[in-house]
Amino acid sequence: MPTPTTRRRAFALAAALAGAAALSAPAASAAGRADIARPASSGVHLQQAPSASGGKTLTVATNGSIDSLSPFLAHRALPTAVHRLMYDFLTNYDAKDDHPIDALATKWTTSPDKLTWTFTIRDGMKWSDGRPVTAEDVAWTYNLMMTDDDAATANGNFVANFAKVAVDGANVVITLKQAQSTMLALDIPVVPKHVWESHVADIGKFNNDAQFPVVGDGPFILTGYQKDQYLTLDANPNYWRGKPGFDHLTFKFYKDADAEVEALKKGEVDFVYGLTPAQYDSLKGQANITTDKALGKRFYALAINPGATTKDGQAFGDGNPALKNQQVRQALMYAIDTKVLVTKTLGGYGTVGTGYIPPIFATYHWDPDPATAYSYNPDKANQLLDAAGYKKGSDGMRTGPDGKPLTLRILGETNRPDDTQNAAYLTEWLKAVGIGATTSIVDQGKLGDTETAGTFDLAFDSWTVNPDPDYVLSIQTCDERPKTPGKSFAGDDFICDKDYDALYQKQITEYDQAARAADVKQMEQRLYSDAYINILYNANSLEAYRSDVIGSWEKQPQPEGAYWGQDGYWSFWSAKPAESASSSSSSSNTGLVVGIVVAAVVILGGGGVFLLRRRRTQTAEERE
């Protein structure tokens, strides 16, 4: 028979649990605050509280992640974009057509032997702590990356060819090991020497998020960062090109893309980017929302394994040998209907792939002659495959000269839904011309493994291209193949074509832009006919913003570029608040009120049930 004591203990435990859980709520918010209240965020609050009331805020939804806020360490796209806003670079890209323009440097000259570049640093620029921006800051930043391996983590590739960086009055003098045509595309944030000197010792560990506001000289000053929650910036009132139109810029972190879209619809955020076609369609025609379909900076390609080799030509991996045959590769391209991929996978938001450099970069983009361009033509694919010696069997599937059936493995990535969809289309098209196909869609890590091991036949491949095409061109050269079999390599697809490499060397030393563009186009032509790396399409960059918050802002390049992912800070710097920004706040207030009411009902629901029960038992007892 249970004693009252036993029962009381059970209640004690229940109550203790309840107490613990109830305590945990305030404790959690307190702890959350304590977490912000490290030197870092006490700064946020001090900074923000007075100004936030007075200024206009532009809120951006992002599902990007921040690996580090140190310009020396950050690899991810989001921190790189934020660094654009925080720090000025040596040069910038024009908002209209992406050509290099002045930034930290007001002018530049080159020596006749092409090996010395002299940049004159802008006079009168100031860091946000009032100290002047000097040539010394530039040289110190570059030199640190040249001498310290940890400092080279993120941008070491830009200074790899530097022999010496020196200061000469207001000039920075850079001496190169060999000529380099990309000197006006050094995307390196220049940091204040007087602030960063003390962090040199632990530069590989310092994430630049210890003290806010972060001293910078860009159009915005970083004022706070709360991991996975938000990142806040304030307009730099003294920015030399002019003060930004919005006083505050906030990035809000989302893990779920649909949540971002809903947040935009409700006015919780003012700008979303990276929309899927379905999301974009759902935002079209909504009140107070402007959608934008921009040309994308990204290419989406089908990479064909040429048979993995190291720099010394040692073969490894198990790529299908049939793919060494150019006819087979070209047959694949005739078997694929890229138009269908654009209309179905992209919902029509994109252009059919042609040259390696996307059409948004008009200077370097190349289009094949329509007469010889790959187009959907299964008959031609069949002819080419027959000619290459892969005969169709009685079951309609082809076998090679060695008697083995021709089956290819398609490799894609989980986080890129395009891959799954496109693989489904590809499988059916390949089957139609007698080629078997299997698909594996894997996470980023495993994709990297399979690529490095060279154990794939076809892989979906996508890169973002910069206004200067050098990098994406470099990854297809012989030198970028791995040193040892199966080890990480900087290249893309084990391609090694001597003619292509010769052209690559030619363009990197060509300082005349028109001549260089001609070389680049020739390289694209080469890649196209080799058919190892085949651009399937260039997807549009789909974005949307609140037109009741943002009145006007600039695209880059114009008129078809995007607001997000610019190679400058133009959109956020030029954004002007809309005239009447009142409608959104009132609607969010209604939402707030309704929300509070329902929240109260739901949260108190449990309590309500309790009280009700209590009443009932009490009355029962009273009746006794």
Binding site: T5, A10, K227, K255, D256, A490
Partner: protein, 355 residues
């Protein structure tokens, strides 16, 4: 529930927590030492196994996080090699295991690839939102589940019992993430006459200031993820409470009690419920594993800045040290809670102690 305690002697009328504590003290060493030592030893062995599993689970198939981390970035071969070295994955597996064991022994869980900061500090900064969410959800689910479970059992077979059990089973059969998505569509976006009234994600808005507004802001953000999580764990409380109580009801002493002419209500409140409470309350601790799993999904859907979304993020890279750290942390939390339940059980139920 303490309201239902019938007019007791003065001492017993003290509020439950101190009363309970006092009762424990009076009994002297409540937990037999051997029993306690055995349980603690068992937990320690489990923990060791978790630490070893944590390593081999994630490293036995070598991943190449370097390529994933630098995706779409201009980097050259030197930078890649430096990164591999920095991550410590250029060493053979056995050397990596040595590093790992030494680190973990020192309480150092390593450095996250994608955040470039220590795993311990990442867990430290993400643990409170999770405790806050899981704690609130567990509290509400337990109160509702246990309460309704009692009613269901007492009136088993009735229409309300069938309805309650049915609802619980449906909720139990629902994929957590799907429920979250549907809740977003209905209550964040709004469907038909229902306005979108809750935020779509996050734990708070950056631009809300002042004590009361920011309190409401927190509550508003909490509602949908909390409801999702409650739905996941609620059923187990209800069903367990119901089943245990049903067993109690069949027990002899209750028949005796009824035969003695005690009113049905009293039998329930004074005898059956307290005894059934024990296993049900223990379940609160034991269910932490389910709650953790549920919170991974709820946090991901609602962009809740806790350990769950950290885990999801880590899965996509894969961020090995972070995955290992979270695996160890989650398992440790559950093992600890289990240990706690096992140690508390004999204090609460003398029958266990004597047997």
């Amino acid at each position: 529930m303490s309201i239902t305690v019938p007019a007791p002697p003065a001492a017993a009328a003290t509020p439950p927590p101190p009363g309970g504590a006092a009762a424990v003290r009076r009994r002297g060493p409540a937990i037999p030492l051997r029993y306690a030592a055995g349980r603690i030893g068992g937990a320690a062995v489990s923990m060791l196994a978790v630490v070893f599993t944590g390593f081999f689970l994630f490293r036995i198939v070598p991943g190449d996080p370097v390529r994933a981390m630098t995706r779409g970035r201009p980097v050259d071969a030197t930078q890649l090699a430096a990164l591999r070295h920095q991550f410590g994955i250029d060493k053979p597996l056995i050397a990596q295991f040595g590093d790992y064991t030494l680190r973990v022994a020192r309480g150092d869980l390593g450095t996250s690839y994608q955040y470039k900061s220590s795993v311990s500090s990442l867990i430290g900064s993400h643990v409170w939102p999770t405790v806050y969410l899981v704690g609130t959800a567990t509290l509400i689910a337990a109160l509702l589940g246990l309460r309704i479970g009692v009613r269901s059992a007492w009136k088993h077979g009735s229409r309300s019992d069938r309805a309650n059990t049915g609802i619980a089973l449906v909720l139990w059969s629902m994929p957590t993430f799907w429920l979250g998505l549907i809740l977003i569509v209905v209550f964040s976006v709004g469907v038909g006459p229902i306005p979108g009234m809750f935020p779509t994600g996050g734990m708070s808005s950056p631009d809300v200031h002042g004590l009361l507004p920011s309190f409401w802001d927190h509550v508003r953000h909490l509602v949908l993820p909390c409801v999702t999580l409650i739905a996941v764990i609620y059923a187990q409380y209800l069903l367990t409470m119901r089943a245990t109580l049903l067993e109690e009801i069949g027990a002899d002493y209750l028949t005796t009690a009824r035969a003695k002419g005690l009113r049905d209500d009293d039998v329930r409140r004074k005898h059956a419920v307290p005894n059934a409470m024990l296993p049900a309350v223990t379940l609160v601790f034991l269910n932490l594993g389910t709650a953790v799993s549920g919170s991974i999904l709820a946090e991901t859907i609602f962009s809740w800045p806790g350990l769950g979304s950290l885990f999801y993020e880590a899965l996509t890279v894969p961020d090995l040290p972070l995955l290992e750290g979270l695996f160890i942390f989650f398992s440790a939390a559950v093992i600890l809670m289990n240990l706690l339940a096992e140690l508390l059980y004999p204090i609460l139920d003398p029958r266990v102690r004597t047997s």
